[in-house]
């Protein structure tokens, strides 16, 4: 760590870990409900648990991205963050908006739009919060000595993510139009601008860990984010097959979304190639595992499992089934969950001055969480394929099918327990590092 203000990142990471823990609890509530044990129905009906689960996911990831940006930007720009106090205010208000939204979901205060359940009055607070965050970042970059490609790609991802939130705030009487613009947020986030954020953080980590020349890494970063947008923007069409939109999206969405895995393949090959090429033997092997891990698992979860149901003829049957949940879990985990845990693993020793990265706990956290999540993906997948065959091909009634596939949720919960043990170890290590401090500052 070179700048005092980088310490702000720690608190964003801490918030992120807290919300991740809560997210998992609500995941278990839903897993049990799917198994037939909907015991909390009166207090936490399924739709409450789901909104809380997915919104906490988005907020812990955003908090992780913000922490990453607060750590990376001062270092890349070679300038202290312009206003540390404002950054803390932004942190607290982010936490408050999150808490109010989550509590509201328990009292029927929300909007019935998947992933965008935050009621519109609160949306405006989100807007103010994100504007503060972006203002801080941009002025720091502007005043800084350097504007590196890595910091520009990361910032661009964050700015576009904020802009794309806006179309999701408009009301439409027509459900199809509502859905059309919901995807401008949901799809263009995860298969567009968030990939810039991921690419930016990945490039930063690779520069630091492998020691490969910045120019080489940043050149490939451009190629990857180029592939992302060329495939991902028109790839939005894979959500416009069957919602009341015209037929040409079947062709356009089909072709371009089938190209989307290339960007993730690029990310995986890029990380592996730079790792091979690098001469630097960085001691933080744990950060290296998470960094290579995110590149590989995102290719499997987003790239391959996305490809599996993006062909229109397949999607006609799998659309809106547990097959989608299978893909959603591994994609979110591999691409965005793991990149946040990678940047945390890399920065914690630098912020606290303690080198705990050789611990057994750390590598157990990595393997248990990944194997657990892979098992959950398989369980969702088996349940999903069985659902598609029975309900959509054989024509068995939805409710009867769900009874047949309950058993797979037992397996899901076993794997989820393993995942949870992994995450608990990660958080235990996070706490063991203690607080960031100024003694950890290294003048280079």
């Amino acid at each position: 760590m070179r700048y005092k203000s980088q310490k702000v990142a720690y608190w964003f990471f801490a918030l992120s870990m807290l919300l991740l823990s809560l997210q998992i609890i609500y995941g278990f509530i839903m897993g049990f409900a799917h198994m037939g044990y909907d015991v909390l129905h009166t207090y936490i009906p399924f739709n409450t648990a789901r909104a809380v689960h997915t919104n906490l996911l988005v907020v812990w990831l955003l908090s992780g991205f913000m922490g990453a940006a607060y750590y990376i930007i001062p270092e890349e720009a070679e300038h202290e963050l312009v206003n540390i106090k404002l950054a803390y205010i932004q942190l607290i208000s982010l936490a408050l908006v999150g808490v109010v939204a989550i509590v509201g979901y328990h009292f029927n205060y929300w909007e019935g739009r998947k992933f965008l359940e935050i009621p519109r009055p609160l949306d405006w607070l989100v807007v103010v919060n994100v504007l503060t965050f972006l203002g801080l970042l941009l002025t720091t970059l502007f005043k800084g000595k350097k504007k590196t490609t890595t910091s520009m790609v990361l910032t661009m991802g964050l700015v576009f993510a904020a802009l794309l939130y806006l179309p999701g705030m408009i009301w439409f009487d027509n459900q199809t139009m509502d859905s059309f613009f919901r995807w401008w947020v949901v799809h263009l986030w995860v298969e567009g601008v968030w990939e810039l954020i991921m690419g930016g953080i990945l490039a930063y980590l690779l520069i630091k860990i492998t020691g490969v020349d910045r120019e080489v890494i940043e050149k490939w970063l451009y190629v990857i984010v180029g592939l992302t947008f060329i495939s991902g923007i028109l790839g939005t069409g894979h959500h416009y097959y069957y919602i009341g939109t015209p037929k040409y999206w079947l062709i356009i969405g089909g072709i371009f979304s089938a190209l989307e895995p290339l960007a993730f393949l690029g990310m995986a090959l890029f990380a592996l190639a730079m790792y091979r090429k690098g001469e630097k033997n960085h001691p933080n092997k744990l950060a290296l595992s998470w960094t290579l891990g995110t590149a590989i698992v995102s290719f499997v979860g987003a790239g391959l499992l996305g490809l599996a149901h993006t062909v229109p003829q397949v999607n006609l049957y799998t659309h809106g089934t547990l097959v989608t949940a299978m893909h959603g879990h591994l994609a979110f985990w591999g691409a965005y969950g793991m990149i946040v845990l990678a940047i945390i693993s890399y920065t914690m020793p630098n912020m606290t001055g303690r080198n705990l990265f050789n611990s057994v706990n750390g590598s157990m956290a990595f393997w248990l969480s990944n194997i657990g999540m892979l098992g959950m993906t398989v369980a969702f997948g088996v349940a999903g394929v069985a659902q598609v065959y029975m309900e959509r091909i054989m024509g068995v009634d939805f409710g009867e099918v769900q009874k047949e596939i309950q058993v797979h949720f037992g397996i899901l919960l076993i794997c989820a327990t393993m995942f949870t043990v992994g995450i608990s170890l990660f958080i235990y290590e996070f706490i063991r590092y203690g607080r960031p401090n100024d003694e950890a500052i290294i003048i280079q």
Binding site: Y242, G320, R392
Partner: protein, 147 residues
């Protein structure tokens, strides 16, 4: 070999071009095609008030509609055709959790008026042209359906 500035041109050029095509197609979709496919002329005040109830109660947190939402409860796009008005209103007006097949819905206990509005919304959405979704099951006739 590719230089860094060529790589940047690839990124910027590709992005601008894709975005322009995307906006063009979206414009055509929203201004011409969607109103036709969804029979926008049938969007009566009753249907719209049904949609408000749909949003306010986050029905999408258990059900899918147009194939989007949660995977806990039946897909509702064609429910009007599948179950008919009486059945739907019974589910919506029930004062105890509706659960003929075991899994519980929230006991909304809607008034007659509200149930009519939601039913009108579900009827309207069932008439949308969805390019063949949901697909007709292949073997339906050979299986006993539990209605």
């Amino acid at each position: 070999m590719l230089s860094k500035s060529q790589a940047r041109t690839f990124f910027l050029g590709g992005t601008v071009l894709s975005f322009a095509v995307f906006i063009g197609l979206s414009w055509n979709t929203l201004s011409k095609e969607v109103p036709k496919n969804t029979h926008e002329e049938n969007l009566s005040p009753q249907v719209i008030s049904g949609k408000h109830l749909w949003e306010k109660n986050n029905c999408m947190g258990c059900h899918t509609i147009l194939g989007e939402g949660a995977y806990y409860a039946p897909e509702l796009t064609k429910v009007y055709e599948r179950r008919g008005e009486g059945y739907i209103k019974a589910a919506l007006m029930s004062k105890t959790p509706w659960s003929p097949r075991g899994r519980k819905m929230v006991a909304y206990g809607f008034t007659e008026q509200e149930a009519n509005d939601l039913t009108a919304f579900l009827k309207w959405i069932g008439e949308t042209d969805l390019n063949g979704f949901p697909a007709k099951p292949k073997y339906q006739t050979t299986i006993n359906q539990s209605k």
